[in-house]
């Protein structure tokens, strides 16, 4: 049977993944839209930066974030100046780290969906009298349903499995910043294999169900499209 602290870790993990995805969908939409439409010559610099978390070891991201959040780092100074709690070893800090860590998993599907829509439907909407924001909400968003679903689920699932970044900037404070993947690691370290099994199995099942949802829904959207 899992410990009570494991349930707390599961809850923190889900909360972290959910908030991260919401933040990413809100900030990723304008970023992806810009990337899909800009003709700026140096656009590839931004694209490469967005894709960095795909290749960087999470500990590297975590290390830099830890430095930035420290009392001498820019983020640390900012929070001190604003009179806020330091970000390091806090849940907010975890959200920030996860947002950066999962950024490409949300931005890239959105960008490719936006590119796929093309200019055609937007030009048609414009000739029918729709203003730019109107066009975005009535044409782009509905036509990007499957892209949003993919982005949300990938971002969520990827945050669920986060380990390195959390370990660096979250510490491992039970009830505050201890997430599922670290709880599993702790159990294995202390040779509590039964508890590790419970958590690992739960994570496996959850991830599989999520992906099943994406592929199932995407198929249905395709059928609606035809």
């Amino acid at each position: 049977m899992p410990f009570e602290s494991d349930i707390t870790a599961l809850w923190i993990t889900l909360r972290l993944a959910l908030i991260t995805v919401l933040v990413l969908l809100l900030t990723g939409t304008p970023l992806a839209w810009w990337l899909a439409n800009t003709r700026w010559r140096f656009k590839s610099i931004i694209e490469a930066a967005v894709a960095l978390p795909l290749v960087l070891p999470p500990t590297v991201i975590g290390f830099y974030l830890l430095i930035a959040m420290g009392p001498e780092g820019p983020l640390g100074r900012l929070t001190a100046w604003l009179g806020l709690e330091p970000l390091a070893f806090s849940f907010t800090g975890l959200v920030l780290g996860s947002v950066i860590y999962s950024l490409p998993f949300v931005v890239q599907p959105l960008q490719s969906t936006f590119s796929g829509i093309g200019r055609g439907p937007l030009e048609v909407a414009a000739t029918l009298g729709a203003r730019p924001l109107d066009r975005f909400f009535t044409i782009v968003i509905p036509l990007s349903r499957s892209g949003y679903l993919t982005a949300a689920v990938l971002g969520f699932a990827h945050t669920l499995g986060e380990f390195g970044v959390v370990l660096m900037i979250g510490g491992n404070i039970p009830g505050q910043t201890q997430v599922l993947s670290i709880a599993i690691y702790d159990h294995v370290e202390s040779l509590e294999y039964a508890s590790a099994h419970w958590l690992a199995g739960a994570l496996l099942l959850l991830s599989f169900l999520l992906l099943l949802l994406v592929y199932g829904l995407n198929r249905r959207f395709d059928m609606v499209k035809i």
């Binding site: 048609v124 414009a126 009298g129 729709a130 044409i139 499209k225």
Partner: protein, 365 residues
């Protein structure tokens, strides 16, 4: 009320430099080969392309571009029918039409709208049975009818149609043409209709704008532009004229119907189905017209029209000449393509009367 445009647009390897005025009502066909800038011209008028400063576009007294003004697309009262049917796939047919109607009031202002009633437009394009359907379940022709209805419901001051039939198969074209006839017969707004099909132009247009290499070669009333011996169409084998007739006798002899030109000459055509309109347009290819100095006797060719020679073109490299003729007692122009040798033998000069034998005509109801 009219459309004035003087646009210049510089794209890599393409320069559009077009200046023209088109009447504020009726259908103006924009005709030219592919790559002549027809679509680019329409896109520029709609605001989808930005012309160079100094260009001017005004429609029925409203400046859309020029004098420091550049109205964004959604503020130009333009209806646009694209070559490919462009229905929004996530909306039903009704949803697509509502999308246009819901936004039409905002830009039409007060008292300016044509009062395009929803029901009238639906009836005009025969869409009653489709309203609840999804675009994906419609045929190409049906989709394009919905797209036309949608453009009309946006209460445009100018309707732009960019080869709306080009992507359709022959059957769908035949199906949609009667709807266009009805639409244009009652359209209170000017229409610019891009096409590279002589048949469509001859059937639908009142005015003609000829484009070549991004420049306007000629523009004016259809018969006048078509009748020119120096237009780009005239230079090709496709040269043709449009002649207006009335039905004289539907059930003529031997499965024929008899039409009468404005000059009173009879034209025999294959029997026309009853119930069609009284006025009929005939398309006559210049290469199907031969000339006789006297009324031909004992010829199998039924249709002979009296005319006067107006002018002759220079012979081309194949030894062919175009003759522009005015049908006797009317203002209608007819083109004949004959050999340079015949011209010399018959001593054809402007001003002489002549008989035109017409081998075949195409009916364009």
């Amino acid at each position: 009320m009219s459309i004035h445009a003087r646009v210049c647009l510089n794209r890599s390897e393409f320069l559009l430099q077009a200046q023209f005025s088109a009447p504020g009502q009726g259908v103006t066909a924009v005709f030219g080969r592919s790559g002549s800038g027809k679509s680019t011209l329409l896109r520029t008028l709609a605001g989808l392309e930005t012309p160079t400063p100094g260009s001017e576009i005004s429609v029925n007294g409203v400046t859309w571009f020029g004098q420091g003004i550049n109205l964004p697309v959604h503020q130009r009262r333009v209806g646009y029918v694209f070559q490919e049917p462009t229905l929004f796939p996530h909306l039903s047919v009704r949803g697509n039409l509502d999308y246009a109607r819901d936004r039409s009031g905002r830009r039409s202002g007060t008292g300016q709208g044509r009062g395009n009633g929803f029901d009238e437009v639906i009836a005009l394009l025969g869409l009653e049975a489709f309203l609840q359907r999804q675009p994906g379940t419609l045929s190409g022709g049906e989709k394009q009818r919905v797209a036309i209805a949608r453009a009309l419901l946006s209460a445009p001051a100018l309707l732009l149609m960019d080869e709306p039939l080009a992507a359709l198969d022959l059957h769908s074209k035949e199906e949609i043409l009667p709807f266009l006839d009805r639409l244009f017969a009652g359209a209170g707004m000017p229409v610019l209709y891009v096409s590279h099909s002589p048949d469509e132009v001859a059937r639908l247009a009142d005015h003609l704008l000829l484009l070549e290499g991004g420049s306007v070669l000629a523009h004016g009333p259809l018969a006048e532009v078509l009748g020119r011996v120096d237009s780009p169409i005239a230079r090709t084998d496709q040269a043709f004229s449009v002649v207006h007739c009335e039905i004289a006798e539907l059930e003529g002899p031997c499965h024929l119907s008899v039409l009468r030109t404005a000059a009173g000459d009879n034209v025999y055509v294959p029997r026309i189905a009853a119930g069609q309109r009284q006025a009929i347009r005939l398309r006559i290819n210049a290469r199907d017209v031969s000339l006789c100095s006297q009324r031909p006797v004992g010829s199998s060719i039924l249709n002979v029209l009296q005319a006067e020679i107006v002018q002759l073109s220079e012979p081309d490299h194949k030894g062919q000449q175009l003759v522009q003729l005015r049908l006797k007692g009317s203002a209608e122009l007819l083109l004949a393509r004959i050999s340079e040798y015949s011209c010399q033998q018959m001593a054809l000069v402007p001003g002489i009367n002549i008989y035109c034998q017409i081998k075949s005509v195409a009916l364009l109801c």
